[in-house]
């Protein structure tokens, strides 16, 4: 009896030690991201698939909030030595983290990975800062033009209404507001920052030149674009000012069927189809002076502070997430653009393209999609731009005066950051 108890105890101890050893052999990758709802569920599915293929690696995914929340929490976590191993970083804001060596240089990983030849050019380019690869894109997007077919019909606009230029947008917005304004419906949602950037590019300009780094906030075409966008709110009153002080209000009103058109990220495709169903129509961005769209979204970076084996495991996940199979799942569920050339051939993606009208519009824009600048000053510029936009859109200050002053301040800040 005693001998049996002894044997059982020894077996239990061995089992316990064994499980501890096994547990310690398992590599855990803490991953911070910004996806909830439909996108969060799709990401969980990708993680489950990865863990099934790599049983020795566990991805501990945490939804932190939006891109700003991630940056804020990451800032606090780094000095506290509580930073994750991998993190989603917005494509214009990772430059500062790369510049400060917070992010691991992934160039060697990417060069050794067959994936590099499978990625679209924009997807390769978007992760490169000062010649080195710091992130691999995961959720890439461009802005597109969404409109509500039912509202268009009620306002007497057909599906062939031209929506190519600033004038076209204004004319359609005016007609909707004039015809349906009494029912609380406005023509267009006040453009959010990503949409503003797109409309500026359509006017053959930029905020900061993505190649030379030249600040173009006070360039004539940028001023003209801002004048047009601001006039939608305060002069023509075809866009609600609610969307100026809170960007998501414009989107939410569109989803609620209270706005005729909205320019927003392809990442909104999933929630827009859920809200509007067959009434949703997706069109390419207008081409006012030229056809050009900014690449948005985010990629996954790996922290330089993590241990080597964790970094290796994290890159394995990054590569898996960019594979055609994972990317097809992600694209079909969320509407974010494919980043892998072989994604459209995948059954899931092919089915989505065939069955979900408008989901492929962003792919058609890839020919003229451009990466945006990502030097450290972009973070400052983007954070400060909101106040400038509000002053212009609400008619409180002259557009040209605001942008001239803002450009000077941005140049000074760029100099300060360089020092």
């Amino acid at each position: 009896m005693i001998a049996n108890k002894y044997k059982i105890s020894v077996a239990a101890l061995v089992a316990l030690l064994g499980s501890t050893v096994l547990a310690s052999a398992e590599i855990k990758v803490e991953f911070w991201h910004s996806f909830g709802g439909v996108a969060g569920a799709a990401l969980d599915q990708i993680i489950d698939n990865f863990e099934a293929e790599n049983p020795d690696i566990t991805i501990e995914a945490q939804e932190i909030g939006n891109y700003n929340d991630i940056v804020t929490k990451l800032q606090a976590a780094i000095p506290a030595r509580r930073a994750p191993d991998a993190v989603i970083m917005e494509v214009t804001r990772y430059g500062l983290f790369a510049d400060r060596d917070v992010l691991l240089d992934l160039t060697d990983y990417v060069e050794a990975d067959p994936l590099k030849d499978d990625l679209y050019n924009f997807a390769r380019e978007v992760g490169v800062f000062e010649g080195k690869n710091y992130i691999v894109p995961f959720n890439s997007s461009t802005p597109v033009l969404y409109y509500n077919k039912a509202i268009f019909e009620q306002a007497g606009l057909g599906t062939h209404t031209p929506l190519k230029t600033y004038d076209d947008l204004l004319a359609a917005s005016k007609q909707i507001t004039e015809k349906l304004g009494d029912d609380g419906i406005t023509g267009i949602a006040a453009p959010g920052q990503f949409a503003r950037w797109g409309l500026i590019m359509d006017n053959d300009s930029d905020l900061i030149d993505s190649v030379s780094g030249e600040i173009l906030l006070d360039a004539p075409n940028t001023i003209e674009a801002y004048e047009f966008m601001a006039s939608l709110v305060h002069e023509h009153k075809v866009a609600s000012p609610d969307g100026v002080t809170k960007e998501n209000n414009g989107r939410d009103a569109f989803l609620a069927g209270k706005v005729g058109m909205m320019i927003n990220s392809t990442g909104n495709y999933g929630r827009s189809t859920s809200a509007l169903g067959d009434d949703l129509v997706v069109l390419p961005m207008p081409c006012n002076k030229v056809c050009a769209v900014p690449i948005g979204g985010a990629g996954i970076g790996i922290l330089s502070t993590s241990e080597k084996e964790v970094q290796d495991a994290a890159y394995k996940f990054v590569s898996f997430a960019a594979s055609p199979e994972s990317n097809a799942l992600w694209f079909s569920e969320t509407g974010y653009m494919p980043i892998n050339k072989y994604t459209p051939e995948q059954p899931l993606a092919a089915a989505a393209l065939a069955e979900k009208p408008g989901i492929g519009v962003a792919i058609g824009q890839l020919d003229f999609a451009r990466g945006r600048p990502r030097p450290p000053v972009v973070t400052w510029m983007r954070a400060s731009e909101y106040d400038m936009w509000q002053a212009m859109a609400l008619g409180q200050r002259d557009v040209s005066e605001v942008l001239t002053e803002f450009a000077e301040r941005t140049r000074a800040e760029a100099e300060r950051l360089k020092r």
């Binding site: 606090a76 917070v102 909101y386």
Partner: protein, 289 residues
């Protein structure tokens, strides 16, 4: 020896807690305010008074100080006057008065974020309840959160609504501590209602007023959540308060040195304000009837 140390030993756990979570961070902030740091760089070079100079030269700082001061100057007296008035009406122990106290106190224990989200929809220009009411009555829409002065007014309203219940409860406690004989004596002397309120109630409730004044001024200068959720400091900086600016500078623009300098200035300003209030009002506070 041990007997002498005993009180200090009893106080030690709490002192350690306060030191770790209050005093050390204050000293750390002071240290960071003389340095340039972005949370990410391994070094924190000493820059002397540069951050303070930059702050005092910046238009944003003076705008935030002005906006916060206006917010405090309007919201604090409004809160205290309303609270004293309502408390004096809810003194009697009736069922209605108890229900009213509970109802008025409810916003104080409700999540500030939830309150701010609900009110930002209530005051939405095109989709809000307030404008639906106005247009229903034949008035035109008002851009509550887009007009600079109105946006600040809305924030003051929401903050007052949120904090009023707490002030009322404190005032009720203060009013209940006033001996009834004083009112009886005033009534015998033929004192009228307003006169009794001015000559008996107001002076005797002064310790409570003084306490609430101290607390509410500090709160007003530290207001953040309502502003962050409802306006984000906009439109175009019209509701940009000091703590909003501090958060933006530190956590959005990565300038921890400048953010710390702002925190230190705010700290000094509040201490100076407390001393001023103690000097001016402290003499008028009597703790004995």
């Amino acid at each position: 020896m041990l007997r002498r140390l005993t009180p200090y030993l009893f106080a030690l756990p709490l002192l350690s807690f306060i030191a770790v979570f209050t005093y050390i961070p204050i000293l750390q902030s002071l240290n960071l305010s003389f340095r340039e740091w972005d949370f990410l760089s391994p070094t924190k070079p000493f820059v002397g008074l540069d951050n303070y100079r930059l702050l005092l030269d910046s238009r944003e700082f003076w705008n935030a100080l002005t906006v916060t001061s206006i917010f405090a100057v309007i919201s604090v007296p409004l809160r205290l006057l309303l609270a004293l008035f309502i408390a004096s009406r809810l003194l009697r122990e009736t069922l209605v008065s108890r229900l009213m106290r509970g109802a008025l106190f409810l916003p104080s224990v409700t999540s500030t974020v939830a309150i701010a989200v609900v009110f930002s929809w209530v005051f939405s220009t095109d989709y809000g309840m307030m404008n639906a009411l106005l247009t229903g009555l034949g008035f035109s829409k008002v851009a509550w959160l887009q007009e600079p002065q109105l946006a600040l007014g809305v924030l003051i309203f929401v903050n007052t609504w949120k904090q009023l219940g707490y002030d009322i409860i404190i005032y009720i406690a203060g009013l209940q501590a006033i001996p009834g004989e004083l009112y009886d004596a005033a009534a015998v002397d033929g004192g009228k209602r307003g006169h009794v309120f001015r000559r008996v109630t107001v002076p005797l409730v002064m310790p409570t007023t003084y306490f609430l004044l101290m607390i509410s001024v500090i709160e007003a200068f530290q207001v953040f959540t309502i502003v962050d959720v409802m306006t984000g400091g906009g439109p175009a900086g019209a509701t940009d308060m000091l703590v909003n600016m501090l958060y933006r500078v530190g956590f959005t623009l990565f300038d921890i040195g400048l953010g710390s300098a702002l925190a230190v200035l705010l700290f000094i300003f509040l201490i100076a304000l407390a001393i001023f209030k103690a000097r001016v009002l402290g003499r008028k506070v009597h703790y004995e009837a």
